[in-house]
Subunit: 311 residues, 4 copies
């Protein structure tokens, strides 16, 4: 594979060096303990251009749990699997000023139906709509899709993390929505696949590869295969732009302008449409749940190279 | 048994006649369908004085499900069983401006801990604290207590209603609170006893007997036995006054002034401290969930005889 | 004047001594700075029985601003002046789980109409309904009434406090309600009287005298004159019980059970219906805004002598 | 001037014909009464390409009040006038799930500071930051700017509409924010300029001209003059995309994908970056406050010609 644009590459190395220390303002979420990634100094970045060029920095090959980043992948697959029309009967497209795990918004607006696919209740709904005889098949199909778009058959979920995780808050959201008809089926069939997909693990390079597919209108930059319908890529990118960075999504859209999805684990998947996909991991997160180092690097990168939307 | 004060008795008959038609502004909740009590014209009232005198009017002997009225009985028993100090570690004493089934207030204030024992999440907490090896024993002990204070061993819960009821919203509340430590244990052990107690059935005369015990500082008006500690009666009466009539509790306190607990089934248990207990059933309820006929009769009665608090 | 019941008198002295130090957990509100009462050790109490007996302790004769305590007096006067039916067209009778100065509740429920007369927007509405050609007459009539029920013609408001107070938050509430029709008229005519009444100053003994009138169904314990209609006393006492102690009203009702009204200045007016009125001042307040020493003394007093409602 | 792309032109005519009747689902806001534009059949559209080509349909030359559309113009000018860094000290960049006139969000998050420049409190803050000795100069400078970017010196505000408008709700927002330091100064100086800018009137062709300047990175398509700094255009377009269409902004971003700003008058200013600016008027609005015909035409246009972001 060829290297991406030399200038951007050199700049990437420069800002990774500059911003490494930024994590000191953040905290590491408890969910990372079972993974061993509790070193705030750890940082990894990988970028893949839409021509398939690759650039690494830091711990780009070590794996970590996706946490909320997986919501973006699950959305893409559900759009492919059941279609936008069916999916958006059960979940909205609106940003919410509230926190991602909040149950309060479910009592407002369209009662029991979540605002968008990037908040926890929204992602529960989205996962539950994936086709499958039961929860196992539902999750297996999603995992297969993730392996394909990352071109990495070894991707799996962290079993220990899944088994030890506290799921009561998710159960609460699930039953609240089931009582209003937004989800159906049992916990096993409809909630468990959601719980498992938050535990999917991969490296920054896997993230960058997936992001590059999205940057390339759904076509694999390396093989040239159309892996995702371009219309579903478009829908996903807009929702990532307006709702992908927790309750700092609007600020990130203005300050950076790249459709992205972050996880409490410190991972960020970021898309520069038509140009490249970026994956970063830096476990120290800010009060909104976004990786401090990740956000700063993406902001510098977007500003320097005018990568953001409408730039 | 002797008759209660002749004047009040005559007045009761008069206002029952006058207010029978008031139900036309109300609606009958879906929960009543499995019980057969869907006739808005149905009305029953029973009053028992603290000397044991009894007065009936209308359908006073037919049984109906208590719905939220049972929250008051469960509170009394939990206070007897575990004590106020222990109980109020997990549930507050504050009225809330929100609806009784709302989950939103759980995200405010003391997060995951309900405001008071008369909203659904509060009653779930209270029921779960009753002592017992499991849910069956927990509920059996509660039911025994209810039979004793009503002096009626035939009181039971409506099995069909329990089995057909939709419990997803309650599950949602349960798991939300469990994730914050306000409740513990399984659904079977800690939530099912709550679901069953809402299905307990009795007649207006059973309600009046229980209310008379409360009006008599916990002493049975007929046998003279002390069935409830007077301090626990006091606590329960105040909470009934401030929170017993759903989100119209404040208005009812001002307009009527009797510590009472209403149910969506149209039942009301009402206490005139030192004087009498009253039970009414009238299935047409207002927008807050209170029996229209019941509220009007209690208001007229309290105004005419200056029965309300501070009168 | 004769002394009130000797036993209670002795007990009062005892608990005032015991609880003096309790203030250390509290803070003194900024509003007290212009008054000079910023000494947390300052404490005063006065009790007057319904037979006119008087008992003092501590700084019972020094004057302090009433702050929210005045809401109770303004409510009583507005009820006398325009009647309950007219008044409750514009303000509700329901407790609210929110803070007393919150504007959020005005967007819920009956939009633009406040929940009850004891929250700031409610008291603004109540004050604005007092009859008068303009704001000056409106406030003058209220002040006259307060002087009469306290039997103290020297009572006035603190001009400096009124002039230096920040009123923007109240202006915001005022215009919000005016846009929905709950209040009318200009700031001068309808808001200024509210702002002035919060600055009314008096001593604990003035408070005790007023409270004793309320405890005596509106009849002056000393002169025997009926100063307030008994029905308006009843309405006011219930609203004090359910909403008088900020967002700790429900807890105070359960733990103490005396209809009371507190102010951020550390003042509390407390009524023992049929027995006595109590005024306390202790400027260190808890997180709800209630005087720490005041609440503890009232709780001990009520528990020891079974003074609370339904005791 | 030359005509814009012939194909789009023909398509515009076609969909304007097709969608004319769509207004039947909407209502006309009371604010339009004083303007005479209460005919739901009225519809106007104008598009200007970034090369200066112009296309009209319907009532494209009649003037109407901008209402909230002006928020976008005021934001652009304030960014030019005081800079982004200064401005965003007082107003956020986050979408809110709440209605545009709501005061509730001001009690959450950064207390007293509005979420974004497109909700009413946010626009009040933005207008108040425009430089000027007083409110008159502040508004005069804004109006001058609007005339310049529309290349139309006859643009003015509707004096009658300004004088008869009910401003109490805005006063409430203003004083709430002033009490928290988000705005300062008097009503005359800081609120009146906001009230006047909502009354600015122009035609669809004026709107299209302004939108074309924004589509052209701030450069006038006709004269070639740089009227707005490109960075401020970028900031404004992103905020229009995430917050410009009231509480349907997220849905419009997904379904249409054009940075736009709507007004309750039925006006919409819409930008196709790099290609064209569009102005529409159709007074029947949906429950969110957006012109029904306008939204449908923009959606069809964006879908047919892949004009939306990330298409």
């Amino acid at each position: 594979m060829k290297r991406i644009n030399e200038d951007i590459t050199a700049y990437l190395e420069k800002i990774v060096e500059e911003e490494r220390e930024a994590h000191h303002d953040g905290t590491i979420d408890a969910c990372m303990e079972s993974t061993g990634y509790t070193d705030p100094d750890m940082f990894g970045l990988c970028a893949m251009s839409t021509r398939g060029d690759l650039k690494n920095a830091g711990h780009a090959d070590e794996i970590f749990p996706l946490e909320s980043v997986s919501k973006a992948l699950t959305l893409v697959f559900a759009l492919e699997d059941v279609g936008a029309e069916e999916l958006f009967r059960y979940v909205g497209k609106e940003p919410t000023g509230d926190q991602y795990h909040s149950i309060t918004p479910l009592e407002e607006g369209k009662k029991g139906f979540p605002s968008n696919p990037m908040v926890n209740p929204g992602a529960i709904v989205v996962t539950s709509k994936i086709r499958g005889r039961d929860g196992d098949e539902r999750f297996a199909r999603l995992l297969d899709f993730v392996r394909i778009i990352a071109d990495n058959p070894r991707i799996d979920y962290n079993h220990k993390m899944y088994e030890t995780g506290d799921s009561d808050l998710h159960r609460s959201l699930f039953y609240y929505m089931r009582s209003h008809g937004a989800v159906s089926g049992s916990e096993e069939d409809s909630l468990v696949p959601y719980l498992k997909q938050t535990c999917i693990e991969m490296s920054c390079c896997d993230l960058a590869r997936i992001a590059a597919v999205l940057a390339n209108k759904g076509r694999d930059p390396v093989s040239g295969n159309q892996l995702i319908r371009s219309e579903n890529v478009r829908l996903s990118l807009i929702l990532m732009l307006t709702t992908g960075m927790y309750d700092a999504s609007g600020t990130f859209a203005v300050d950076v302008g790249l459709p992205s999805k972050s996880g409490i684990s410190g991972a960020i998947l970021s898309v520069v449409p038509g140009r490249m996909g970026i994956g970063t991991i830096g476990p120290a997160v800010d009060s909104s749940g976004n990786s401090i180092v990740g956000v700063r690097i993406l902001q510098k990168l977007a500003a320097r190279w005018r990568l953001g939307v409408f730039s």
